[in-house]
Subunit: 101 residues, 2 copies
């Protein structure tokens, strides 16, 4: 994977962020990254097919929610926490406050 292009949060519309969060797996990834700090795709994917997982991480990246860096052959993902909070105040609080839904 080439180093992933990182969109500027200012260029991202709130509805696109909501789209990225409208899938249970992607929402779970955001919650785990918030709790764990940084995690590899492998640690997050469970038993999902690789192609489906790649798509989900791409959607999260394009919505500005995560950044991915290469550590050898491993892709490490992290939440763009402060930038998200700055651009969309309250969004992460909302995502993280209800683990049941």
């Amino acid at each position: 994977m080439r180093p992933a292009r990182l969109p500027a949060l200012d260029d991202i519309a709130l509805e696109d962020v909501f789209h990225a969060l409208s899938d249970p797996f992607r929402l779970a990834v955001v919650r785990r990254l918030a709790a764990e700090g940084e995690a590899s795709c492998q640690a997050l994917e469970g038993d999902r097919p690789k192609s489906s997982v790649s798509h989900h991480f791409r959607v999260l990246r394009q919505a500005g929610l995560i950044r991915t860096r290469n550590e050898g052959a491993t892709h490490m993902n992290a939440l763009r926490r402060e930038e998200i909070e700055d651009r969309f105040p309250g969004l992460l609080a909302c995502v993280l406050s209800k683990q049941d839904g």
Copy 2:
């Protein structure tokens, strides 16, 4: 239209609310209802085709975001503001804080 079934907010998953808010028209409706209190479908629909507007209002209702009442032949819509705030704290603040995106 029969009186619309109103889902219990406890039965609604956050990802379904995010899906409802992932469309620019639906997001705009939520913002207008937050600002104006209650509004008819006609006042909100602009020049969109009726079938498309009905779909959008149904998605918003099913996600628990709005309630609709009949006033004669007019359908009046309102945000379920306190219930949403109670179930998904911070969500509306996030939706309403950025009018530019």
